[in-house]
Subunit: 249 residues, 2 copies
DNA sequence: CCACACATAATCAAATTCAATCATTTTCAA
DNA sequence: TTGAAAATGATTGAATTTGATTATGTGTGG
């Protein structure tokens, strides 16, 4: 496993769980504690996470100490994902019926949303909480809650979705490729994405550059089915497509 | 569990309950009193909460009074609620289909649940999160999320419930009276409670002594419709009823 | 006033975590 | 292929955290 890859995995876990211990990372990534510690030290000095005794916590999750406003967080993490999220949030108009997928990128999107006069529907517990705390009209799909991502998936959720229609929607993805479309590792999540996209008029996929030319096991949509919002494109191959929006801050 | 995580949990509890005792934190977080005391001392000096004899209070409540006496704390009923929750958790058997209502008492119940071989259904985002983090099979009702309680209510949620049947269920209440039954202030929440109780075989209402002889605007069930689990009964009037279980620790 | 239960801070031993170090393996370029 | 640089995993002693214990302090109810 490449170091970069491992760092990505660590950050993903820290973002999702808000806090992870060294032994946990050790088991999930299959490397020694020494390596994990070194990774955490480096990621900490890069400002990507906060190293604490026993493990690490995510930047946003300052349990103690002053809580950071969104802008401060933005400054700390002048991250590609955050630029994408900010841009996407502006696409929401008054009166919209907005579907928001589960995932870390869409979570950032939720943080950036300011449109009060829209209705929000999501299958993510985290996103629903954030939305309702911001005072937005929020709906959650019903069904089985999946442990790892804290999102609702499965037959009931699918049935619930089929009754709704959205004017605009935002999804995350694990891989994007012109040939295989948008892909994700989990069958159930793929189903949720596929159905919700089917019910939506304006479809946007949020993804950072690292997802390009990656193919995960399950395809949930074809490449032409949505507009891709991403940071600076590094792969020339994708320059020619019209449904890619490059956010340049 | 990381120290930071524990601090987060403590602060969340203190914020919500306004006052928590050391033994309660001990039980809910599964660490020793020594550790809790150390945590409180540190959080106190960080200015995140006020340490008082017996536990801690939230910052906001500080000006109201000097230290809370144990009586005052008992009035807040956290300890009693905890005892009730622990007792109720033992009622769940393998294979049960368990409905869990939204609310602070049922939240404590969730903290106490140990039965892995059951399926849990709730309309509370908080409870769903907790359940799924404990590794239990968890379902959430779909529908509109209400801001104040972070629970799902409304027509969709009701429709979702109607399709299900539960072997056992637990509800909170704002008032209990032999004449007016179980009552709550909110119309929508009452509807959720009423419907879910209709789909459940064994019905339990969790409530501390302060709820007796209180009547809120909306009745969601008659007094005979459920077994009441409570702490020590102070009101002699209720001694004669057979559907009241007194948990004496 | 006293006795009782409980809460507290201090102390200690055990367990866990840490940074530093070193040998081994891998990577990359000459 | 060879050698230098980087990454990894194991080891070690120091530091931190934790839970139990104990002596002391605080509040309650007779």
């Amino acid at each position: 496993m490449l170091t970069e890859e491992r760092w990505g995995a660590i950050l993903e876990l820290v973002e999702r769980e808000k806090a992870v211990s060294v032994p946990e990372l050790e088991k999930r990534l299959g490397v020694s504690a020494s390596t994990i510690r070194r990774d955490l030290t480096q990621l900490n000095s890069l400002g990507k996470l906060i190293k604490v005794h026993g493990g690490a916590t995510s930047i946003g999750t300052q349990y103690v100490g002053k809580d950071l406003t969104m802008d401060e967080k933005y400054l700390m993490n002048s991250d590609e994902k955050m630029d994408i999220a900010r841009y996407a949030a502006e696409l929401i108009s008054p009166g919209d019926y907005v579907y928001i997928d589960a995932g870390t990128t869409t979570e950032m999107l939720v943080d950036c949303i300011r449109e009060q006069n829209a209705t929000y529907i999501t299958n993510s517990l985290t996103n629903a909480r954030k939305l309702v705390r911001k005072g937005f009209k929020t709906f959650l799909t019903g069904g089985e809650v999946k442990g790892t991502t804290e999102a609702v998936v499965g037959a009931e959720a699918a049935e619930y979705l089929r009754k709704l229609h959205f004017t605009i929607g935002f999804w995350g993805t694990n891989g994007v490729s012109a040939e295989d479309g948008f892909t994700t590792p989990d069958q159930n999540e793929a189903m949720m994405k596929r159905i919700s996209m089917g019910q939506t008029t304006k479809r946007y996929i949020l993804c950072d550059r690292s997802k390009f030319s990656v193919v995960s096991p399950v395809t949930f949509a074809d490449f032409e089915d949505a507009v891709v919002i991403t940071g600076k494109l590094t792969d020339k191959k994708y320059k020619k497509y019209e449904n890619i929006m490059e956010v340049t801050k």
